[in-house]
Symmetry: C2
Subunit: 87 residues, 2 copies
DNA sequence: TCGAATTTACTGCCTTAACAGTAAAATGTG
DNA sequence: CACATTTTACTGTTAAGGCAGTAAATTCGA
Protein backbone atom coordinates (compact mmCIF):
# COMPACT_ATOMS: atom_id res chain seq x y z
CA UNK A 1 0.00 0.00 0.00
CA UNK A 2 2.91 2.28 -0.82
CA UNK A 3 2.25 5.44 1.09
CA UNK A 4 3.30 8.98 0.42
CA UNK A 5 6.42 8.84 2.55
CA UNK A 6 7.64 5.77 0.71
CA UNK A 7 6.95 7.24 -2.70
CA UNK A 8 8.80 10.43 -1.90
CA UNK A 9 11.61 8.53 -0.25
CA UNK A 10 12.06 6.47 -3.37
CA UNK A 11 11.88 9.54 -5.52
CA UNK A 12 14.65 11.07 -3.47
CA UNK A 13 16.86 8.10 -4.12
CA UNK A 14 16.06 8.29 -7.81
CA UNK A 15 17.18 11.90 -7.86
CA UNK A 16 20.32 11.03 -5.95
CA UNK A 17 21.10 8.23 -8.37
CA UNK A 18 20.74 10.45 -11.39
CA UNK A 19 22.75 13.22 -9.83
CA UNK A 20 25.64 10.90 -8.97
CA UNK A 21 25.70 9.39 -12.43
CA UNK A 22 25.70 12.90 -13.85
CA UNK A 23 28.69 13.74 -11.68
CA UNK A 24 27.08 16.70 -10.01
CA UNK A 25 27.27 17.86 -6.43
CA UNK A 26 24.16 18.91 -4.57
CA UNK A 27 25.18 22.52 -4.90
CA UNK A 28 25.67 22.26 -8.63
CA UNK A 29 22.29 20.65 -9.05
CA UNK A 30 20.73 23.24 -6.80
CA UNK A 31 22.18 26.05 -8.86
CA UNK A 32 21.08 24.49 -12.11
CA UNK A 33 17.58 23.97 -10.78
CA UNK A 34 17.44 27.39 -9.21
CA UNK A 35 16.80 26.15 -5.70
CA UNK A 36 18.82 26.16 -2.52
CA UNK A 37 21.27 23.43 -1.62
CA UNK A 38 19.19 22.58 1.43
CA UNK A 39 16.23 21.88 -0.80
CA UNK A 40 18.16 19.38 -2.91
CA UNK A 41 19.35 17.78 0.29
CA UNK A 42 15.79 17.62 1.58
CA UNK A 43 14.45 16.11 -1.64
CA UNK A 44 17.08 13.40 -1.69
CA UNK A 45 16.36 12.69 1.94
CA UNK A 46 12.71 12.22 1.15
CA UNK A 47 11.30 15.21 2.93
CA UNK A 48 7.61 15.24 2.14
CA UNK A 49 6.96 18.91 2.63
CA UNK A 50 8.98 20.37 -0.18
CA UNK A 51 7.04 22.38 -2.70
CA UNK A 52 6.23 20.90 -6.06
CA UNK A 53 7.84 23.70 -8.00
CA UNK A 54 11.14 23.02 -6.23
CA UNK A 55 10.81 19.30 -6.76
CA UNK A 56 9.84 19.63 -10.40
CA UNK A 57 12.64 22.08 -11.07
CA UNK A 58 15.12 19.50 -9.86
CA UNK A 59 13.44 16.67 -11.75
CA UNK A 60 13.51 18.70 -14.94
CA UNK A 61 17.27 19.16 -14.71
CA UNK A 62 17.75 15.45 -14.25
CA UNK A 63 15.40 14.70 -17.13
CA UNK A 64 13.13 12.78 -14.85
CA UNK A 65 9.61 13.09 -16.07
CA UNK A 66 6.44 12.81 -14.10
CA UNK A 67 3.31 11.09 -15.22
CA UNK A 68 -0.08 11.16 -13.59
CA UNK A 69 -2.75 8.65 -14.38
CA UNK A 70 -6.11 8.15 -12.80
CA UNK A 71 -9.10 5.94 -13.59
CA UNK A 72 -10.56 8.74 -15.67
CA UNK A 73 -7.43 9.75 -17.53
CA UNK A 74 -8.73 8.61 -20.90
CA UNK A 75 -11.99 10.48 -20.46
CA UNK A 76 -10.04 13.47 -19.30
CA UNK A 77 -7.89 13.46 -22.42
CA UNK A 78 -10.96 13.50 -24.60
CA UNK A 79 -12.64 16.23 -22.59
CA UNK A 80 -9.39 18.19 -22.56
CA UNK A 81 -9.08 18.01 -26.34
CA UNK A 82 -12.62 19.29 -26.71
CA UNK A 83 -11.83 22.20 -24.44
CA UNK A 84 -8.98 23.41 -26.65
CA UNK A 85 -11.14 23.38 -29.75
CA UNK A 86 -13.87 25.55 -28.32
CA UNK A 87 -14.94 29.06 -29.13
CA UNK B 1 8.73 22.18 -23.87
CA UNK B 2 5.98 21.76 -21.31
CA UNK B 3 7.12 23.69 -18.29
CA UNK B 4 6.36 23.24 -14.64
CA UNK B 5 3.46 25.65 -14.57
CA UNK B 6 1.79 23.87 -17.45
CA UNK B 7 2.28 20.45 -15.93
CA UNK B 8 0.82 21.51 -12.62
CA UNK B 9 -2.00 23.36 -14.31
CA UNK B 10 -2.93 20.27 -16.20
CA UNK B 11 -2.65 18.18 -13.06
CA UNK B 12 -5.06 20.54 -11.36
CA UNK B 13 -7.60 20.00 -14.10
CA UNK B 14 -7.13 16.27 -13.83
CA UNK B 15 -7.90 16.42 -10.14
CA UNK B 16 -10.92 18.60 -10.79
CA UNK B 17 -12.17 16.20 -13.43
CA UNK B 18 -11.88 13.21 -11.11
CA UNK B 19 -13.47 15.04 -8.22
CA UNK B 20 -16.44 16.11 -10.29
CA UNK B 21 -17.00 12.63 -11.64
CA UNK B 22 -16.79 11.32 -8.10
CA UNK B 23 -19.48 13.78 -7.07
CA UNK B 24 -17.43 15.40 -4.34
CA UNK B 25 -17.18 19.01 -3.29
CA UNK B 26 -13.81 20.58 -2.63
CA UNK B 27 -14.51 20.48 1.08
CA UNK B 28 -15.37 16.80 1.01
CA UNK B 29 -12.22 16.00 -0.89
CA UNK B 30 -10.20 18.18 1.45
CA UNK B 31 -11.56 16.35 4.48
CA UNK B 32 -10.92 12.96 2.93
CA UNK B 33 -7.37 13.92 2.04
CA UNK B 34 -6.75 15.59 5.38
CA UNK B 35 -5.92 18.97 3.92
CA UNK B 36 -7.63 22.34 4.01
CA UNK B 37 -10.21 23.39 1.49
CA UNK B 38 -7.98 26.20 0.33
CA UNK B 39 -5.34 23.65 -0.56
CA UNK B 40 -7.69 21.67 -2.77
CA UNK B 41 -8.72 24.91 -4.40
CA UNK B 42 -5.08 25.84 -4.93
CA UNK B 43 -4.21 22.47 -6.43
CA UNK B 44 -7.09 22.58 -8.88
CA UNK B 45 -6.12 26.09 -9.80
CA UNK B 46 -2.62 24.94 -10.59
CA UNK B 47 -0.74 26.67 -7.81
CA UNK B 48 2.83 25.53 -8.13
CA UNK B 49 3.90 26.05 -4.56
CA UNK B 50 1.76 23.50 -2.78
CA UNK B 51 3.67 20.90 -0.84
CA UNK B 52 4.00 17.43 -2.24
CA UNK B 53 2.49 15.75 0.78
CA UNK B 54 -0.66 17.80 0.32
CA UNK B 55 -0.75 17.12 -3.39
CA UNK B 56 -0.11 13.42 -3.02
CA UNK B 57 -2.71 13.09 -0.29
CA UNK B 58 -5.31 14.47 -2.68
CA UNK B 59 -4.08 12.35 -5.57
CA UNK B 60 -4.26 9.23 -3.42
CA UNK B 61 -7.91 9.85 -2.62
CA UNK B 62 -8.71 10.24 -6.31
CA UNK B 63 -6.72 7.12 -7.15
CA UNK B 64 -4.43 9.12 -9.36
CA UNK B 65 -1.03 7.58 -9.32
CA UNK B 66 2.27 9.23 -9.99
CA UNK B 67 5.09 7.77 -11.96
CA UNK B 68 8.60 9.05 -12.28
CA UNK B 69 10.95 7.95 -14.98
CA UNK B 70 14.38 9.18 -15.86
CA UNK B 71 17.05 8.04 -18.30
CA UNK B 72 18.57 5.90 -15.56
CA UNK B 73 15.37 4.38 -14.21
CA UNK B 74 16.25 0.89 -15.33
CA UNK B 75 19.72 1.06 -13.80
CA UNK B 76 18.19 2.48 -10.68
CA UNK B 77 15.76 -0.42 -10.36
CA UNK B 78 18.60 -2.88 -10.54
CA UNK B 79 20.70 -0.97 -8.07
CA UNK B 80 17.70 -0.56 -5.82
CA UNK B 81 17.03 -4.28 -5.81
CA UNK B 82 20.64 -4.96 -4.87
CA UNK B 83 20.33 -2.56 -1.99
CA UNK B 84 17.42 -4.43 -0.45
CA UNK B 85 19.28 -7.72 -0.53
CA UNK B 86 22.29 -6.45 1.30
CA UNK B 87 23.60 -7.28 4.72
C1' DT C 1 -36.49 32.29 -12.81
C1' DC C 2 -35.49 31.56 -8.05
C1' DG C 3 -32.95 29.64 -4.30
C1' DA C 4 -29.56 26.40 -2.55
C1' DA C 5 -25.15 24.63 -3.15
C1' DT C 6 -20.67 25.26 -4.72
C1' DT C 7 -16.75 27.69 -6.11
C1' DT C 8 -13.97 31.72 -6.21
C1' DA C 9 -11.56 35.14 -3.88
C1' DC C 10 -9.80 37.57 -0.04
C1' DT C 11 -8.59 37.92 4.96
C1' DG C 12 -5.30 37.41 8.90
C1' DC C 13 -3.02 34.25 11.93
C1' DC C 14 0.19 30.69 12.64
C1' DT C 15 3.34 27.56 11.18
C1' DT C 16 7.10 26.27 8.60
C1' DA C 17 9.68 25.76 4.22
C1' DA C 18 13.50 28.02 1.69
C1' DC C 19 17.75 29.70 2.11
C1' DA C 20 22.78 30.76 3.04
C1' DG C 21 26.15 30.12 6.36
C1' DT C 22 28.67 27.11 8.97
C1' DA C 23 30.80 23.10 11.06
C1' DA C 24 31.14 18.25 11.78
C1' DA C 25 30.96 13.79 9.68
C1' DA C 26 31.70 11.00 5.79
C1' DT C 27 33.59 9.95 1.39
C1' DG C 28 37.01 9.26 -1.81
C1' DT C 29 41.51 10.05 -4.15
C1' DG C 30 46.48 10.69 -4.30
C1' DC D 1 47.36 7.54 5.83
C1' DA D 2 46.58 12.49 4.79
C1' DC D 3 44.08 15.84 2.13
C1' DA D 4 40.34 17.77 -0.49
C1' DT D 5 35.72 17.29 -1.60
C1' DT D 6 31.21 16.33 -0.49
C1' DT D 7 27.45 15.42 2.38
C1' DT D 8 25.07 15.75 6.63
C1' DA D 9 23.22 18.45 10.12
C1' DC D 10 22.15 22.50 12.55
C1' DT D 11 21.33 27.60 12.82
C1' DG D 12 18.56 32.00 12.49
C1' DT D 13 16.17 34.89 9.28
C1' DT D 14 12.90 35.76 5.93
C1' DA D 15 9.20 34.76 3.11
C1' DA D 16 5.26 32.32 2.20
C1' DG D 17 2.09 28.28 2.48
C1' DG D 18 -1.79 26.06 5.17
C1' DC D 19 -5.78 26.96 7.12
C1' DA D 20 -10.56 28.46 8.63
C1' DG D 21 -13.68 32.06 8.16
C1' DT D 22 -16.21 34.81 5.28
C1' DA D 23 -18.51 36.96 1.41
C1' DA D 24 -19.16 37.59 -3.45
C1' DA D 25 -19.66 35.25 -7.74
C1' DT D 26 -21.06 31.32 -10.15
C1' DT D 27 -23.35 27.03 -11.03
C1' DC D 28 -27.08 24.04 -11.04
C1' DG D 29 -31.44 21.87 -10.16
C1' DA D 30 -36.36 22.29 -9.04
Amino acid sequence: MTNIVQIIGRLGKLVWFHRKKAGLTQIQLADLAGVGKSTVYDIEKGKSTVQINSLFAVLAIMNIDVKFSGPLSAAFEKWSADQSSDK
